[in-house]
Symmetry: C2
Subunit: 491 residues, 2 copies
């Protein structure tokens, strides 16, 4: 009778073993028994069927059961009782029977308020024509060359590229970036001065953690790029918005503010301000450097689109004129490559560089050196320069195409200067247009763009829109502008 | 005479143009003139040589000079004076003549104190045999398969992999990881529950920023992994060290502490504690889950080496038993792959997941989807499982080899249990041995290992050492242990 009861019990345990699973049978069995204890099917103190009975019930070798039991005894789920029976330990702190497990349950703790300040990620429907971002066109990128360089690198030095390396970046890429900055932007740097980051955004994140303490004042451009504000807000800095006019950041206002309280850092985009596309005037550059020297302000110079100057000469970075070590230069290769390749860089005074590299070691240890090596190879072979020049011609044509389309379809609604460089156009809307309503209606109709509000530190409505044109081809630009014309609200 | 003086002046300007430079000639000329203004060679208000004179002096077409001048006028460096001369603007705020530029100058600002708390990165000499880290052996990894998968992915969908994608990770990889966690670790998850990070370290960084505010109490294992403490200290949390004994984290002590003040989170390594390699007992697991439910504590469960169980059954993660949404499960593929491939993952309740993904979008936008896709393909093809099984056999042999070598060469100095899983061994040194002096002498002789002090939250000396064996082959282990025996200090 006892034998029969045990057999019945063995069946009711409903332990399912799968022969073709990755898991060895004893482990499957052990996990199944734990599950039965957890769910209350096996009660604390309950004696389990014998190993032979359970084995025959399950159709496995007895050793499978013995191994599983031994393991569960070692783990503290089962214990061997005096009569050489095995039973569930009696003191497991399982109170009530537990409800069947939800998949991933809701949080049993509180999610901190500040994490909610992060803008939630929302995937766009696949067919939205997206003017946001000022991105290059990933479709133009020579992906096959990248794949080949990736493979060549892994063949040549698999161990070095797959083991831990220098958190400051793959040496070949640091050399290539230094050479590029030296020959095209006048920076007297070598590989040791270059810190490779995961895009410029990651550089801003590291910088904000390295230089800011809660309550520090940081000056930002207004209007300006929201990610800059988010990066500086994260460690609790106080933002000091400084207005941008036709000459760029209003340095005189910054001077006034920094006379009143110490401004720890200022983030500025001298080459092509985001969103307005204006260039910081020579006069203001020099005044800003002098101001920073005097007040020991960190000048974070961000530079997104130096490669994409369509007319005239790109203005050299302030970093190339930095006599006093006040400038931290943040740039990116993601625009010359493709947005999904997160390759940015920082040039900073050595003391700060050491702090940034140490911090980076804590955060994600290092970049993907296999990818960094591949990009270094493309840089050295001149492929990135060739690609940039090709892309620049394409983007210039798209810029002109967009300007033409806007004049044609939205001539009375928008006023703008055709930007001499960069991947976006900044347009002022006529007074009778509610740009935010327009943006919402356009999005509903399949075209997304950001309005001035997106760039305002205070979230104030501004009668502007920014149109990133480079990643949309002529046909897409045409469709997008027609949608904008159709959804244009006028009072 | 005036013409002659202008020509002389043109020569003294020493503007050098390079025909084979990437930069167009007008741009080179413009940059050169800016440099001359910056360095004081061209004074504020000085009239420049005429375009014809300068062109002939430089051996370029006159249009080159005209273009450069126009650009510099637009940028605000030059102005056209009444007599149709061009001169340097007079109000540039350049005071004294500036000294020749140093390369990258020392910082003109103060580097914040807390960034110094980051341990500086120090590259090891190439030939040091390194026991630290508990790393897998990158030399065993099938790099060619990864390169092939990378290329195939870029060929199939270059645009999707190179444009912006989901910050939560490449969907294929999320699916693969969910499948793996489901079939081998009992987690009822699908792709939507998986967040791909750059290694588990980046996951801890994101978590600490998402859930902690300055002053929050976070319980950590003592001894424990230093990176965990660094991650939690960054946003200003207060660490509450809880001792680890033969059953793992002392949950009763945690209960006492959390009765006194709210403990926001506890970080625990139930499967194989770092550094001690002990497994958290079943009893304590359940008590900890109950404690967390009651006090709304976030249980951060880190799991580094689930794949590498040499004997017995790996204990299922606490996350597989999490009824109340208190567990955040952090794991890594870097151990099953190679350390330089930064692929980790988080499973968390949906509210927290949304916050983490939004935060990640701010920090580095997203991972490398081309690499993530390649890893997903290896996962799906079973290559990673095959590699793990192969590697497990190799690592088991190395573990046994190390245990034998230690018994043979250091039998009286060390006491240890051979770990049943994981990539490192934790050994207690005899009382008369100064382990820190030993570590220093060993390093000088070419072998590095960490002592108990490295893992102590208070930096206290502990008579232990941790030896990561998996990335050293038998010959290297032999050489390393012989060096340790030679440098063994005894009183």
């Amino acid at each position: 009778v006892c034998q029969y009861a045990a057999l019945v019990r063995a069946r009711t345990l409903a332990l399912r073993l799968e022969r073709d699973s990755h898991l060895p049978l004893p482990q499957q069995l052990a996990l199944g028994i734990i599950e039965q204890i957890r769910s209350g099917v096996l009660a604390p103190g309950e004696v389990l069927p014998g190993t032979r009975t359970l084995a025959s019930s399950l159709g496995v070798h007895r050793n499978t059961v013995v191994t599983a039991f031994e393991e569960l005894v070692a783990q503290g789920w089962l214990e061997t009782s005096s009569a050489s029976h095995t039973r569930v330990v009696s003191e497991l702190p399982i109170g009530d029977k537990l409800s069947p497990r939800r998949r991933v349950p809701g949080a049993g703790f509180d999610v901190a308020a500040w994490s909610n300040s992060a803008r939630a990620f929302q995937a766009l429907p696949f067919d939205v024509l997206d003017f946001t971002g000022g991105l290059p066109d990933a479709r133009l990128f020579p992906a096959a060359l990248l794949a080949r360089a990736f493979r060549r690198g892994l063949r040549r030095s698999p161990h070095a590229l797959l083991a831990f390396g220098d958190p400051a970046g793959h040496l070949g890429l640091r050399r290539g970036i230094a050479e590029m900055l030296h020959s095209t932007r006048g920076l007297a740097v070598d590989a040791g001065d270059i810190f490779v980051t995961r895009g410029s955004q990651f550089a801003l994140h590291l910088l904000s953690l390295a230089i800011l303490r809660p309550g520090d004042a940081v000056a930002v451009e207004s209007p300006g790029y929201p990610s800059v504000r988010e990066a500086f807000r994260l460690p609790g800095a106080t933002l000091v918005p400084i207005r941008v006019d036709g000459e760029g950041l209003d340095v005189a206002t910054l001077a006034k503010k920094s006379a009143k309280r110490h401004v720890r850092a200022v983030c500025v985009t001298p080459h092509s301000q985001d969103p307005t596309t204006v260039t910081l005037s020579a006069r203001r550059r020099l005044t800003l450097l002098e101001l920073a020297r005097h007040h020991r302000i960190v000048v974070v110079e961000t530079d997104y689109d130096y490669e994409f100057q369509f007319e005239g000469v790109p203005v050299m970075p302030m970093a190339s004129n930095d006599e006093h070590g006040v400038v931290v230069y943040v740039g990116t290769l993601s625009k010359a490559l493709a947005p999904g390749l997160r390759i940015g860089f920082v040039v900073a005074p050595p003391e700060l560089m050491r702090a940034l590299v140490a911090l980076r070691g804590q955060i994600d240890r290092q970049g993907d050196h296999a990818t960094e090596q591949a990009v270094a190879e493309l840089l050295e072979d001149g492929e990135i320069l060739r690609h940039s020049l090709r892309a620049r011609r394409v983007f210039q044509a798209r810029r002109d195409g967009l300007a033409h389309l806007l004049h044609h379809h939205l001539g009375s609604a928008l006023e703008f200067e055709v930007p001499r460089g960069g991947l976006a156009l900044w347009a002022r809307a006529a007074d009778d247009i509610d740009v935010d309503a327009w943006a919402a209606d356009s999005l509903a109709a399949g075209v997304r763009f950001f309005t001035g509000r997106h760039y305002s530190p205070t979230g104030r409505a501004l009668p502007y829109l920014r149109l990133g044109f480079a990643h949309l081809d002529e046909g897409e630009l045409d469709r997008a502008v027609r949608v904008m014309a159709r959804t244009l609200p006028r009072e």
